[in-house]
Amino acid sequence: MTAANPVAPRRLTPVPDRTGLLLLIFVATSALLLLSHNRDLLDTLGGLGVLLRNPIVEAIVVSLFLANVLFAYLWRAAPWAKALVGLGSLLLILPWAGQEDTSLLDLSIQIMIFAALALGLNIVVGLAGLLDLGYVAFFAVGAYAWGIFASPRFAEIGRYFVENPGASAAATAVLGALTLLAGLGGYLALQRRRADDLSGSGAWGLTLLLVAGWVAWFLAGRGLFTLGERPWSLAALWIGLVPTALGLLYLAYSRGRGRDVRGALLGLSRVLLALAGVVGTVLVARSILLLTAEGITGLTTGIDPGFFWLFLALSIFAAAVVGVLIGLPVLRLKGDYLAIITLGLGEVIRVLANNLDLYSAGSQGITPIGSASVGWFDTLAARLGFAEDQYGLLFLYVLSLLMVALILLVNVRLDRSRIGRAWIAIRDDEVAAQAMGVPLVQTKLIAFATGASFAGVMGMIFAAKQTFVSPESFNLFQSIGVLAMVILGGMGSFPGVILGATVVTLLNLRILPGLGEATAGLSWIPQQANPGQLQRLIFGAILVAMMLLRPEGLLPSRRRTLELHHEDPQEDDSAKGTGPSLTGGGGDVYSPGLETREEDEPTGGTK
């Protein structure tokens, strides 16, 4: 937002134009990449061919190639050259090399998934300053949303409901709809009420009436509340009633000591009504399942791939809703407390995936998961010479490229809006932000939901790519891994976190395994010291070294740079208006056609 800086950019030592060098490196690394993935050609090259087949050399070739995109972003060069190198690398050379070696496409998709996750977490942690250790839960929501429906699991669920219908579908639907309406209507009616509007006895009357209503509802509808063979009505009644009764007793005790409990009673009434809404929704969903169970059993390979696009939207929505639901109770806290709670809630989602075995197949995981098939895309892929089994991967590659570009665009635009400013204001000083009219909870919820939705959509792409999801893919280490990418790349910096995701993913999937593979056969390295065994150790050492050497991250955000080197705050503005720029270390094209100003452009100004 300093584009409007009144002080004209000063430049003491102009950065040389590196168009030529950029193109040269692009051609060289592209040739190397294509060469090293062309088996026939490698056979004819003798010694060089053997060298290029060495896993560690191959990993370096891939990394160098991806560095092209980073150079195109960082260096001062002609805009057409930047566009050519960025787009050419990602849309032409990479798929071309991927034709020979699909693991390259797989790796690229993985990098982009992590880049999108890092961008999402960056909003929550980097911009809004909310430390979230359960971020991968949203990724899981997206993955399962598609995984359950696009696999044989869906038919299994249908079969289960056919075999264990429980109560009548129509009665469940009616009761569910009524409960939902009553809960929602009551909640909306109470939403605007304040404690002062009610008399003490009025508040007690309202709450007790609601509790009595609950009990009556349970007893009346008891016959309906069986999930298949398992009756849970009485247990549910006790689980709900005991804490409510204890709470009411405590409030009665507080009132006896002269405290004003109207606010608490009003809050309790709202919770009860909100619960009614949730229960109603569940019952309606259940009746729909019951009614359609017969039809579902026929879908032995899951729903039609045509629904892919609908689910793409649904996964965004579902993850955002889960983000809001998780965010609502926890966002009053901050710092360490928030971190611990999000960690716990992240684990809750994983454990749910593990234990709801009817829906998620538990720890076995769901497989095979379908993907979209787009007719014209397959035709195009065939024309370009791809084999039939590569269509799906290529499609997902292009899709994730598109998604990362979109996510980046949304990020940049939000950052340069009142919402982005509110996030940073909250991060810098919550009290001051609130006193300036920024609603805390709402603003934090937007951050949570936006970050979650990015994870949701990438979770779905992940499920489609792996054709398999299990709770193991969504454990705490994944959350921490994404956080490491954000911090390593530079908190708050969009190109930075993409680069962080790329570096960490490359290290984990290519460079370190390559190193292990290449040295496995060497007899002069004792087995205990073999890098293959010490991958985690090397990774940790690299993280520690990077954090010591560049605490602000690989590509720090402009704000952080200004803070750390504030003797020459104008220097970084020099990069403004260098025209189209490509971001990221291989993650993504930052489309030159979109008119957004680059926030975090470091363009060599910092060193």
Partner: protein
Amino acid sequence: MTAPLILDVQHLTKTFGGLTAVNDVTFGVPQGGIISVIGPNGAGKTTFFNLITGIYSPDRGSVRLAGRELIGLRPDQVAAAGIARTFQNIRLFSSMTAEENIMVGRHSRLKASFLDAVLHTRGFHASEREARETARIMLDFVGLGKWRGELATNLPYGDQRKLEIARALATTPKLILLDEPAAGMNPRETEDLKALIRSIRDDLGVTVVLIEHDMRLVMTLSENITVLDYGTKISEGLPHQVRNDPAVMEAYLGRGAAAGDYGKEAR
């Protein structure tokens, strides 16, 4: 007081555990006035501001802004209702530029939604333009035009105080609460500040309430002074009346000189 009250505080009380920080304070601010709240350290002045702006909720009492009850509103709602404030210990957004700090102050007045921002609708551009224009006007108003693109933390101390005032004014308040605006300023800066505060009232039509320890500033600037001690209002009136009030002298000199170790100011 003949002018209609813009801020009407009745019987405001707040206790923290056993300590009564603000005790049954009734306080009125006439429209267009410059009013000071003074008192020894720990008298509950800042707590009083925090109660008015919704940061704390009082045990008893009411706060009405132009007739509208503010108790029960969140701080951001109070800001939207028309009360802006600055802080005793400067609370700028340190990683933002001066301009961005003021644009945050504009938050509640901008209409652009999440979707507007993502889609870059016409409404979004209009609201961004408006925010930037307000920022420019406010920076010029407090005399910080040259610092527009500079990070807030890099500003000289006195200018940071002025930037806080500009940020508060960007919320287009009816009333601005200044918490020790002259703290740490040299006499020349204090003179500038005095002119600025007058101009806030005269040129922008914003009513001013300030907490201040600089007695010369308070006595020359205020139209009315309220004195708090141990959370209780001990005196109120015109500057010369307050200056000669024995209760005030006792609060400042008598007990202050003898004990010398009042608790830290409640924040």
